[in-house]
């Protein structure tokens, strides 16, 4: 696929290496790539030279000197455009840096939808370049680069035709057609005047040149006509041949005249590779300024308990979001917070003021701060398209606000009723509870599910009250809710995860037992992977109720934790208390909490929890089948009934889990990521094989409620197992996302476009 040396990263005058420090390994020289361009060059230059040498002298004498001049000018034009098309960087995107794709981890969706002039366009994740391809961008397999406004890979110039050099390619075609016509025409004129002495060398050469010209004229003229139509319609070759806009509307067209003028008259687009790196001369050092809160703002925040403010904020941001397409939200960097443990603690003060929740830097960070962006990001990352749709956000928001009161109501009793089984010292107390409740509500606004769920669970998490809340939230919101719920639970149960750290610290002791008891459903409700990370981190410090810097990794955000973040924490988990393991295990398919499940030591959940568990599980139903298997595995002994329902599984598994020591953690439980109808493939880190993997992973759950190789899933090194889990999630979310994309896209056209706009399969 890739041929030639250093063909990637652009060619042409800017033959500069890729912007990365690492020089890509040189690819093997592929001479076959150069055959067409060599042939084209040979024929073009050779024929024209012969024409000038044999035909033109007579023509200039016989008719006018303008003939060779005219031909010369045209030929020069042809050559110039040919060289520009061949050597110019078509608009290659530099590979994304490591930092950028951190949030797009294994579990990130393969596609992100964006709305362009009312039409849903899918942006595919490019596993090579590590970013979501902008609209009209495609990855050329020959050049191994993502090219902006990718048209096609032209073998005759041995270069991709993209945004930067399409104009030159188009002009090359036009001028070549003119040149061929001129050569053929003048050659014919020569022959007509030399019919008598046709056996002369000049005539023979002219005849040969005419033949070559005539042969090439038909394909070249055909291609020229084709591109004239494309330019007029504002389409690329890629879009035309893949039939993207066959029945639908092209969102990129501005009308014939504007399209033509854009191609011919726009300023030369800049190249992205090989730019002079500007040296950042700015020196950043604390202390830093902080935005000032006005008195009114402060008062409002304190008085309204964050609910009103959150509602207003979320609503306005929701509108904004819908107009801008959720997928285009900036990815939340929860993981950056996790990644940088020494993250700012400054949030603490802000949190208390702004969040009306106990100062929990992580919570604050995860909360979309009164804007749905966080939600969407979380959704997007967790379940992509479907979540990005406004409705899910809206529903999440509604549910969150409605459940917040419910939560509050049930909060108090919930707390007390749970016997504390957690060995973790409950650093938080009643104050924490209040704060937790508040936070929960506040968080709910934000994440509409993901985060709020998380915050709920994390705080003083009354086992039975949470499921209620979560159930309401989860059932309405996307799987992200689940994730957050799960996260919340996880965070509650385990202070391990960084994000949950702060939560755990504030969780009152009574929650511990509930946590243990409700391990099964906690783990079920919590999102899988994310929590894993969180859990891992948390479990590392189970006994240390406080002290761990609140990493931004809200349980919800854990999916975005970089693997590096995850790994160091993982080993610590094995030594954690059972329930910690339990939690983390189910969260993270990779978690190898080989530690004995904590269930053995935890008492069975109280009956109320059972009841309440049913609700969240209903929401958890949305979880892809794969998750069921995964989550169930957490209980280690997958009772046969686990197959049936997620929540049932949870119940039973938890019970069983409690009663028996399970060596296998439920790492499979990826949490309620997406509704089952999501068949959204998620992208793996290294390869773009979502469909294949997702299909395989889908079959997985059917086999057993728990992933058979529990040990494997537990092992940190079995990335494949984790990947499978994620695939299930992604698949579910992807299908849902696809559905949502089809539905959400401007009505029928949107649906068509959604279906039509596939990842370009152009054999670049």
């Amino acid at each position: 696929m890739t041929g030639g040396s250093s063909k990637s990263g652009g060619r042409g005058p800017s033959l500069s290496p890729l912007p990365h420090a690492v020089v890509p390994p040189s690819r093997p020289l592929r001479p076959s790539r150069y055959v067409p361009v060599s042939a084209a060059t040979f024929f073009l230059v050779g024929s024209t030279t012969l024409f000038f040498c044999f035909t033109c002298p007579w023509l200039s004498e016989r008719f006018s000197v303008a003939v060779p001049i005219y031909n010369g000018v045209i030929f020069l034009f042809v050559l110039a455009n040919f060289c520009m098309a061949t050597f110019m960087d078509p608009g290659i995107f530099p590979r994304a840096e490591e930092d950028e794709d951190k949030e797009d981890d294994f579990r990130a969706p393969l596609y992100k939808t964006v709305e362009i002039r009312g039409i849903q366009v899918r942006m595919k994740w490019c596993s090579t370049c590590r970013f979501y391809r902008p609209p009209r961008c495609s990855h050329c397999s020959v050049c191994d680069n993502c090219v902006e406004d990718f048209d096609h890979h032209c073998p005759w110039v041995n270069n991709c035709i993209g945004r930067r050099n399409y104009r030159y390619f188009f002009l090359f075609l036009l001028s070549l057609t003119a040149h061929i016509m001129a050569v053929f025409g003048f050659g014919l004129l020569f022959i007509l005047y030399h019919r008598q002495n046709i056996d002369r060398l000049h005539a023979i050469v002219t005849l040969a040149v005419m033949c070559v010209a005539g042969l090439f004229f038909i394909p070249v003229a055909g291609l020229t006509g084709f591109h004239i139509v494309l330019v007029a319609r504002g389409r690329t070759t890629n879009e035309q041949v893949t039939g993207k806009f066959r029945g639908g509307v092209n969102p990129f067209t501005n009308g014939c005249w504007k399209n033509v003028s854009h191609v011919l008259c726009s300023s030369q687009a800049p190249r992205y590779l090989g730019r002079k790196k500007c040296v950042q001369s700015v020196f950043v050092q604390p202390p830093f300024l902080r935005p000032q809160l006005t008195e009114a703002q402060l008062a409002a925040k304190i008085l309204d308990n964050g609910i009103q403010g959150d509602l207003h904020r979320s609503k306005s941001s929701l509108e904004m979001m819908e107009s801008q397409s959720c997928d285009a939200e900036p990815p939340p960097p929860p993981k950056p917070e996790l990644r940088y443990p020494g993250i700012t603690r400054g949030n603490t003060e802000d949190c208390s003021l702004l969040n009306k929740a106990p100062p929990t830097p992580t919570m604050y960070k995860y909360r979309p701060t009164y804007s749905p962006s966080k939600n969407h990001t979380a959704f997007t990352h967790a379940y992509a398209n479907q979540l990005s749709r406004g409705e899910s956000v809206g529903s999440a928001r509604d549910s969150s606000s409605s459940t917040s009161s419910l939560l509050q109501a049930s909060q108090q009793p919930g707390f007390r009723s749970q016997p504390s089984l957690d060995q973790r010292d409950a650093s938080s107390d009643q104050g924490g509870e209040e704060g937790g409740g508040e936070r929960r509500e506040g968080a709910r606004e934000v994440a509409g599910g993901g985060i709020p769920g998380y915050s709920l669970g994390g705080r003083s998490y009354p086992s039975f009250s949470d499921p209620t809340v979560l159930a309401g939230v989860a059932s309405r919101s996307s799987s992200s809710m689940h994730t957050s719920a799960g996260a919340a639970q996880v965070s509650e149960a385990t202070t391990t995860s960084a994000s949950f750290k702060s939560l755990a610290n504030q969780t009152p002791p009574p929650h511990h037992p509930s946590r243990n008891g409700s391990l099964s459903y906690d783990s079920l409700l919590a999102g899988g992977d994310d929590f894993d990370k969180e859990v891992v981190a948390g479990s590392g410090v189970p006994e240390v109720s406080a002290g761990r810097p609140c990493t931004p990794a809200v349980g919800y955000s854990s999916p975005f934790l970089s693997s590096q973040q995850r790994d160091p924490e993982m080993p610590s988990l094995s030594s954690q208390s059972p329930h910690h393991h339990h939690r983390t295990a189910y969260h993270h398919p990779f978690l190898h909490r080989s530690s004995s499940s904590s269930t053995s030591s935890s008492p069975p959940p109280p009956p109320e929890r059972e009841r309440l568990l049913a609700e969240p599980h209903a929401g958890a139903h949305a979880l892809p089948a794969g998750q069921t298997a995964g989550s169930l595995s957490s209980s280690a002994q997958p009772p046969p009934h686990h197959h049936h329902h997620h929540h049932h599984h949870h119940h039973h598994s938890h019970h069983h889990h409690h009663h028996s020591s399970s060596t296998s953690r439920p790492p499979r439980f990826t949490g309620p990521h997406a509704p089952p109808h999501h068949a959204y493939p998620y992208r793996t880190r290294s390869t773009d094989t979502p469909l294949g993997s997702s299909s395989t992973s889908t079959t997985h759950p059917s086999r057993s409620p728990y992933p058979p190789p529990l040990g494997k899933s537990l092992s940190y090194s079995s990335a494949a197992a984790a990947e499978m889990q994620y695939r299930l999630v992604r698949k579910a979310s992807a299908s849902a996302g696809a559905n949502a994309a089809g539905v959400g896209g401007g009505g029928g056209s949107g649906g068509m476009v959604g279906g039509g706009i596939q990842t370009p399969k152009f054999p670049g």
Binding site: E148, S267, V282, P286, V446
Partner: protein
Amino acid sequence: MAETHSLQDMRPQAAVAAKVFIQRDYTNGTVCQFQTKFPSELETRIDKQQFEETVRMLNNLYAEAEKLGSQSYIEGCLACLTAYTVFLCMETHYEKILKKIAKYIQEQNDKIYAPRGLLLTDPIERGLRVIEVTIFEDRSLTR
């Protein structure tokens, strides 16, 4: 070239705490525009207005760069006539605007973002896909 460093410079720079990526806004097609939505991570660091103003200004500059105006037209004609050799000596309109943008970002960093522990990265370095905002750790508030 000998470089002198003030004692101030010798102090280590703040550690990077997080990175926020402002994505492109594709609602109007492939025109270069960035989302003006205020990311939540920056809530505690900078005013919403200030940030949105910066992004809006950047959007305006990019719109000006991609504008199909007389300058770009003349530039195109000239390039055609000289067989594109003019590109060897003259800077294109887009590049001129990019320089302006780089200067603007530098100035914003110096005046507004660095004092708040933030740093904007020129999006051209990321292929005009994202604006990278680096959030620096605020050690003064670390517990």
